[in-house]
């Protein structure tokens, strides 16, 4: 997906929303640096959203995480103007919808935006199918055509059999599937999701998250997703924004949020995060393209080990695919015996992981104590992981000092100086794995 992200779909520029009878006065005070509390105390105006700016790319899923009262629900309603922002711009496909007139606004809502609500917001007096086709009905689509579309999307979410039931016959998870189908039926380019899974049981919530990830793989919507659950944010977001008192305190990839929290507030949240699920192999690896097996011998490998205390290095074939692991001990023995050809020293039973794999998924491989080969999607060797780095990552205190992302690159000295790849790849490839 990362390749489609360069087209900006939603561009939110310095949006501020102030609730109260005299927002302009509060806005002036806000601009001169008054805090939210001061403005509330002095003017009685409530700052809902304070100068928020972000972009969401086509096919990107952008998650806003914040506690209740942080303004996140207000923010998402500013995007489709269920709430009119006090100032700022909201551009969808480069059109500022804040200056659109009523007709144009409705057209944008009809054609480009779908919304999913926290408490499902299904119409109790309509059947599941009638709920699903609501957007098309408003658009004026003929009855049989919109029913067909509704059934199609109900089928996608697995509820086609329930088309003619009423919402009160459905469980919470099923209701939200209908909510999702209703939003998808209008074929929106942007999906606004306001805490869609917060009202669900934990197990169903996890299923729904997985299902959303699957749907997103198929349909590549731009998603703006609101949640108060950081784990959910990290799981679903290509990028995550942490919102506090109406402001964004940090925007970043899940790994940036967990690896280098911008302030103590964010850090406090990340304490409980399961790092093993967030941090990927690509982040903790030391970039290393391996030593081409055809162009090396025991002696040259031995010189590599001179400046390097790892237990072994990887050798690759002509295409850059990992051939095997050469252990330092074996090299020493071979030198003593006067051997020249490295081929006999190459161990083929080495651990290998994809760079997008979360640490938790290859934790077991670390216990062998040997370096782990990291490959990209074309199976080329792009780095190695020292098992000790994995253990360090999984201890919260250690990680914040080590700075995931750039930290790995800084430590990637020593090992075969000439062969070390530029550190650029360390974070680049990893969001591809997510929604």
């Amino acid at each position: 997906m990362s390749e489609t992200q360069n087209v900006t779909k939603v561009d939110v520029v310095e949006v501020t929303k102030i609730f109260g009878d005299d927002p302009d006065a509060a806005l002036e005070r806000l601009k001169t640096g008054a805090t939210r509390e001061e403005i509330l105390r002095d003017t009685g105006q409530v700052v809902g959203v304070n100068n928020v700016t972000f972009q969401v790319g086509a096919g990107e899923s952008f998650v806003v995480m914040g506690l209740s009262g942080s303004g996140k629900s207000t923010l998402i309603r500013c995007i489709n103007r269920l709430i009119d922002p006090t100032s700022g711009q909201v551009r969808i496909d480069d059109e500022d919808i804040l200056i659109a007139d009523d007709d144009r606004l409705r057209e944008i809502r009809l054609t480009k935006l779908g919304m999913v609500f926290q408490h499902f917001a299904l119409f109790p007096h309509r059947t599941v199918a009638e709920n699903t086709e609501y957007g098309l009905k408003i658009r004026g689509v003929a009855a049989d055509e919109r029913r067909k579309a509704a059934l199609n999307w109900l089928d996608v979410v697995g509820l086609a059999d329930w088309a003619d039931s009423y919402p009160d016959a459905l469980s919470g998870g099923m209701k939200q599937r209908v909510g999702l189908a209703r939003a998808l039926t209008v074929e929106p380019e942007v999906l606004l999701m306001d805490e869609p899974f917060s009202a669900l049981d934990p197990l169903i919530r996890r299923d729904m998250q997985d299902e959303l990830i699957d749907l997103q793989r198929k349909f590549h919507k731009s998603i703006i997703f609101i949640t108060h659950d950081l784990n959910e944010a990290l799981k679903l977001g290509d990028r995550v924004a942490i919102m506090k008192q109406g402001r964004f305190v940090q925007i970043g990839t899940p790994e940036e949020i967990v690896g280098s929290p911008a302030d103590p507030y964010v850090e406090a949240f990340t304490q409980d995060v399961d790092r093993g699920r967030v941090v990927t192999a690509g982040t903790v690896m030391q970039p290393f393209e391996g030593i081409p097996l055809g162009r090396t011998n025991v002696k040259s490998i031995a010189t590599i080990f001179d400046g390097f205390d790892g237990p072994g290095v990887y050798v690759t074939d002509a295409k850059g695919l990992p051939e095997g692991l050469v252990m330092q001990d074996d090299v020493g023995r071979a030198l003593d015996e006067g051997l020249h050809d490295v081929t006999y020293l190459v161990r083929k039973d080495f651990p290998q992981v994809d760079e997008s794999m979360p640490l938790a998924d290859f934790f077991g491989a670390c216990e062998a104590g040997v370096p782990i080969a990291v490959v990209n999607e074309r199976k080329r060797l792009v780095g190695v992981i020292n098992p000790l780095d994995v253990f360090a990552q999984l201890t919260p205190g250690a990680a914040s000092g080590a700075k995931v992302g750039n930290g790995a690159a800084e430590e990637a000295t020593g090992g075969g100086t000439a062969e070390v790849a530029p550190p650029a790849g360390a974070t680049g490839g990893d969001h591809g794995a997510r929604v």
Partner: protein, 331 residues
């Protein structure tokens, strides 16, 4: 003692009664008489139409229709009660008066609905309008019913139509209040959902707000009906007919029997109409009737080992495991 302490009225007396007297007699009556006459016209038309209709329908046919309505919407026991009530009304000899009263009441309710529901809808959608309407409704509801009668007689004259107009004024507030309440009770998220999918305010009103407020609006209609019934007796003071007139005559002649028969007629009519309209109100609430049916269909499906509402997990009790598409398959 108290004579030593001055009161405001020692210095100044506000001639409020004279002012109002002047307002009505001096300004409203001479200038707006044609206007008030014009208001009377539609009320008169509807009332006469209904009266003629009820008089034309044979007793048996009327009873069958009403009992069927009661059966359909309120159940068997109310249907039986309706049958007994109507028969009693006839055998105590107040059937024609009951029909006259029914015509008056339904006319009043019709006009209350025609005026009150739109006003209630507007109040439900605008805080400013609701704030403006509220004191007027308070005045309409708390002013003693007899107080209406004097200005009504002056502006509209004496007779059955002015009686109905007094009834309309008296019975209007509940339908306005409950329509307002019903609209406001529609969950905000549902209204937002309406707008989020591109509906116009009108579409939100028709597609979302009114259907969901319908049950409350019907409760308002029921209250309006009850208030109308209680007003028709009082309206007899200014020449309205029907059961009210019987009661009024009973009081005038100190004829306990006559007054009681009139009173009984009002009570029976009131209970019958109340139960039937409540039944209709509940049935109309967001298509409860259809939902009941779909619920039954659901049970039948379940009975024959079909699908039941669950997420393929523990969401509902006692499900066979061969239930609907689990999340995994669904994806």
């Amino acid at each position: 003692m108290t004579d030593f302490l001055p009161k405001p009225s020692d210095f100044f007396v506000l001639p409020l009664d004279e002012w109002i007297d002047y307002l009505v007699k001096g300004i409203l009556v001479p200038n707006l008489r044609p206007f008030f006459r014009a208001i009377q016209w539609p009320v008169d038309q509807v009332l006469t139409g209904l009266e003629n209709l009820f008089n034309a329908i044979p007793f048996v046919v009327f009873v069958v229709i009403l009992v069927w309505l009661a059966w359909r919407f309120a159940g068997r026991s109310i249907a039986v009660f309706t049958l007994v009530s109507l028969v009693v009304l006839d055998i105590v000899g107040v059937w024609p008066e009951s029909m006259a009263t029914l015509a008056m009441v339904l006319t009043a309710v019709l006009f209350c609905a025609v005026v009150g529901i739109p006003v209630g809808l507007m109040a439900g959608r605008s805080d400013t309008f609701a704030t403006a309407v509220r004191p007027i409704l308070d005045i309409m509801q708390t002013t003693p019913a007899f107080v209406y009668l004097v200005p009504v007689v002056m502006l509209f004259g004496v007779g059955i139509v002015p009686g109905v107009i007094a009834t309309i004024i008296f019975a209007m507030p509940p339908i306005i209040r409950l329509t307002n309440l019903g609209i406001r009770q529609v969950p905000e998220e549902l209204v937002e959902a309406g707008y989020a999918f591109g509906s116009t305010p009108r579409q939100v009103l028709i597609e979302v707000q009114i259907p969901l407020a319908l049950r409350t609006i019907m409760a308002g209609l029921n209250q309006t009906l009850m208030l109308s019934l209680s007003m028709v007796v009082i309206a007899a003071l200014i020449g309205a007919e029907g059961l009210g007139l019987i009661v009024y005559q009973g009081i005038g002649r100190l004829d306990v029997g006559l007054a009681s028969v009139g009173g009984l007629g009002v009570v029976l009519l009131a209970i019958t109409l109340d139960r039937i309209t409540q039944g209709i109100g509940e049935a109309s609430g967001a298509d409860a009737g259809r939902r009941k049916l779909s619920g039954v269909a659901q049970k039948v499906k379940t009975l024959f080992g079909g699908k039941r509402p669950s997420d393929g997990d523990t969401a509902t009790a006692g499900g066979t495991q061969a239930s609907p598409p689990s999340p995994g398959e669904a994806a």
